[in-house]
């Protein structure tokens, strides 16, 4: 399997092969690394590579992002299939087209700060969501015009719900 990974804007070409029950060969930028990688608990890998031992917790973040937590260090790795990468580039990246403000966690809509038709700046507060005893002011994903407000004050919303769309 071939992949492109990014850490801190540095891009790496990866190739993964499984050699045995817990043996893998990972090629990084043309260099092969054979590792002994046991999944000792869900998403917790005990990795031995050239007699160096890493107890690494791998955690899926947003799409394609993998957090790797070591004993004393943590990294964000963005992993994509090369095909996906080409597709994304063909789409011209983000920034254009409509955008939706979604709830990343369930909560109560306490106040709506805009009306449909309002012009808003990037990051301008659109809505206050109460979740886990904190008020979270949600900012606009882009500059534009408020197209549709799909919730009203007092609504309980589920995670992932589209709250407001911006055009």
């Amino acid at each position: 399997m071939e992949l492109i990974a990014t850490i801190d804007q540095n891009e790496y070409q990866l190739k993964v092969e499984q050699l045995g029950d817990h043996r893998f060969r990972v090629n990084i930028n043309g260099v092969d690394h054979e590792v002994d990688c046991m999944e000792v608990m869900e998403d917790l890998y005990s990795m031995i590579h050239h007699e160096r031992s890493y107890d690494v917790h791998v955690h899926h973040g947003k799409k394609g992002h993998i957090e790797t937590h070591f004993y004393d260090d943590s990294f964000h790795v963005e992993v994509v299939d090369p095909m996906q990468k080409i597709l994304d580039q063909a789409m011209g990246g983000g920034g254009k087209g409509p955008a939706a403000l979604e709830a990343a966690m369930p909560g109560l809509v306490q106040r709506i700060l805009v009306k449909e038709g309002d012009e808003v700046a990037m990051d301008q507060g659109l809505l206050v969501l109460v979740a886990m005893k904190m008020e979270n002011e949600l900012g606009s994903p882009k500059a534009g015009v408020v197209k549709e407000i799909r919730v009203k004050e007092g609504d309980n919303v589920e995670s992932g719900a589209v709250l407001i769309t911006i055009e």
């Binding site: 893998f24 869900e42 899926h60 943590s74 990294f75 949600l138 900012g139 995670s159």
Partner: protein, 504 residues
Amino acid sequence: MFKKVLIANRGEIAIRVIRCLREHGIQSVAVYSDPDRDSLAVRYAHQAVHLPGNTSAETYMDIEKVLDAAKRTGCEAIHPGYGFLSEKAEFSQACRDAGIAFIGPHPESISSMGDKTTARELMIKAGVPVTPGFQNENGDRREALQAAQEMGFPVMIKASAGGGGKGMRRVDRAEDFLSNYDMAASEAKSAFGDDRIYIEKFIQNPRHIEVQIACDKHGNAIHLAERECSVQRRHQKVVEEAPSPAVTPEMRAKIGEIAIQAALAVNYDSVGTIEFLMDKDNNFFFMEMNTRLQVEHPVTEWITGVDLVRLQLQIAAGEKLPFSQDDITITGHSVECRVYAEDPEKNFMPSPGKITSLLTPSGLGVRDDSGVYPGYEVPIYYDPMISKLTTWGRDREEAILRMSRALGEYRVGGIKTNLWFHRALMQHPAWLAADLDTAFIERHPELLHKGLDEGHIEPALIAAAIKHYKTEARRGAAGPDEQTQNSSQWKAGARLAVMRYRSL
């Protein structure tokens, strides 16, 4: 001593109290809201009474329901923990009226200290130094603005009834005052059922130093040294330690004496904390008194060997303090890291969900006060703190090194936590040098960036590649319904989310 005690709380503090009750052969009664049916507190208590509902207001803060549960189960006393009803004078009063012991101070001391104006006046009378401030009794926003302008910006807006950072905001400019005032009042209303606001002069780069005191019902009072809680995020403590590296034995004796005076001024009769701000010239200003057990009490327990919850029980049962001031000696140093289900990279946004795997550290000098277990779902209705990790060492250095080690062993799967932030903090030169103030995190934004050691880039790439490989392999094997990568019900819906999050 009491035979049966109800705990009017949830999470790790309910566990803390149940543990103490268990140790002393006292029956424990937990109360639980709908989402807390599977909580550790329910599991560890002898009895469990259901309080139907999800929100705090419907459950843990409903005085009538809580008292009713205590009466029906034959409890002689109620422990309020911290938060919820712990600093409600009317609850202490209602317990007294019902003939049930409140494991905390008498209602008059709570109202005196809970009301910032009264507390201020009492403190000034008792000779305790205070910061300039203004209590907005009538809710007139314009009057509040005027007071703020008089004391000069920056000012702090606080919930009069509050604590724990809720409804608290710093305002630097007059033009931002009113909008912040409204939001604070609204948060105060929903958190405490009381929207009164207190305005206070903001002291630049202060340290947060607080003194633990204990008073019995027979006029005896001692202090158990201070804690420093300068490392805060969103105006809430996130790392605490005892003793404070900035306090000398002479200063300790002096602020200990001031703290005892402050408590005696309200005839205090429980354990409590006097919070001070300390400026760069080592001046102390009384901030407030917390008339309850503090979240961070374990660091004091480490350095004094005193079980503060047991002490609370003894005092509430009418016993005399079992220690005199001379019995209290400080041994070594202790540090606490609050472990939150939150994302430090997104301004510490809460991250509820199911804990898919859990490994907690232990060994010499390590204590973890947790309210969760593997498979437990961190609910969305309450504070996202999942545990308090504390360490002890013969000196500050050993305690910090031990904390680094313990944080390394701590593994939480399925949700985001601030563990990696704490690990970065424990290695930060300014922290190691104890160069602290309450704006520490804002001053050091590098703490919020992952990836310290270049030597880990290769293994990080390898682990991520294998994770991706395994996920794809599983996806290939599973049907389309099972292709969700995250096991939490909350996370599942969030995969496509593009929510933007901004600090308040």
